[in-house]
Amino acid sequence: MTHVTCRDLARSLSAFVDGELDPTLALELQLHIDGCEACEARVKFARASRTSVRNAVKSTKASDSFRLRVATTVAQAAEAEKHGDIMVSSGLLSWKIAGPLAAAAAFVLVWASASKLQERNLDKTTSSSPSTSQASMIPVDTLVDTLVDQHANPLPPETSSPSEIAQFDRFIGVPIRTVPERGFQGQGHLLGARMVPLQEQRAAMFQYVMGNGRRISMYIYNPQKIRLSNSPILREIPVRNNAGPVYVGCVRGYSVAVTDRRGVGYAMASDLDESESSRLLLAVGDH
């Protein structure tokens, strides 16, 4: 058995108190704590901190009126889901949520009538299938809007280190090795990358600045989970090499281009014009 010191305990205190340590190490630390008054005080303090936070927060209960309201809303949502009907007819929903839901309802109508609805989305009414659409949870035009928002008001990149960017893979579910690290075709440069939430999923967002100061935000995501190409805002443009369609559009002056390449979704929101951004996006996909 190794000799455990106060320093070892200090290093592992949080994980020890959270029960996240390897049992052998936890046992060694416990033996040390049993014989060290200062460490015993540290552990008690850390445990007291946990307990008091829990006591303070757990005492909060939802009000009965809210409980009733939310139970009604959940029942309605479940009923609507069962019948494939997301029209919200009751005034019980708060305005904040009724707005997006109504937008979602309107969107699904447009979407369905445009007969872009894919086979697997149609079995929503039977609902037992695990492939039931998640793309319908948030309307795709709202999603495109979110991309443009994130481009228009960019948050600082989390990292520009290639090894850290490579770590994003397992959070977004698709490989991101095809991203140009030094900008597009020698123009501009990569400021860095961050993960952004999109429709309960995560996407990697790469921020570039071109030589002329124009900015590009490129998103990489799993297109099976996030279906941007269905957006009614975007239109399909012909592509020379049969590599799969590219969808482009213009939102509040920013251009948006979307494509799938080998099962990886790429979207670009940029200050460039539509043809330029679709050209650069194709270059990335072919990279």
Binding site: R11, D18, V57, R67, V70, A75, M137, R194, E200
Partner: protein, 220 residues
Amino acid sequence: MSFFPFLNRSRVRQDTFEDDVLSHVDSLFATALRMTRSQADAEDLVQDTLVKAVRGRALFEDGTNLKAWLFKILTNTFINRYRRGSLEREIISGADARPLSDGWMSAASMRQMCDAESQAFRPIIEKEVNKALEQLPDEFRIPVLLSDVEDFSYREISEIMGCPIGTVMSRLYRGRRLLQIALHDHALAMGLVKGEAVREDESNMVNLESYRTRKQGVGG
């Protein structure tokens, strides 16, 4: 055999999922209230979360942790709506920028702040916890809530917040230290403990990198 067979008839079998989801309302609301700091916003956030859960029910894998899934939706909805899509780093300055080593408080002060019977802080300190939590930046407060209140594992928190386990650990570490410093300041002000300078010789004691290396070594 139920005493009210007519109730059973009118309730369909699938109700269990909705019931399961609704059983987490208090937990979700308590966390949402600390996220948004407003009762109305917290209620909207929870309602939004539950509606999304019901609508996205097919995405939930039976047998996995429903509560963790709900907290993931809650956290993502909060981040999307209130944090413009990200847990931006908040700059910590002033008193909170003090060194966050384990040596900043003496064992004697720690004992004085604890209540032996309840194994928590003394009531006079515990009543300040909500205020101290409120002052924590979101990126630290959320993992502290998920760990201390909901008992999620580091792996579950990493899934919920969509960040690596190492990030969860460092945020938990910083979050708890900031909270404890605020409570220590309160204890000082109340005269429960005596003011002591941070012992700089111990300020290098906790080195997260070496901890991670060590933990990986132990695990492997």
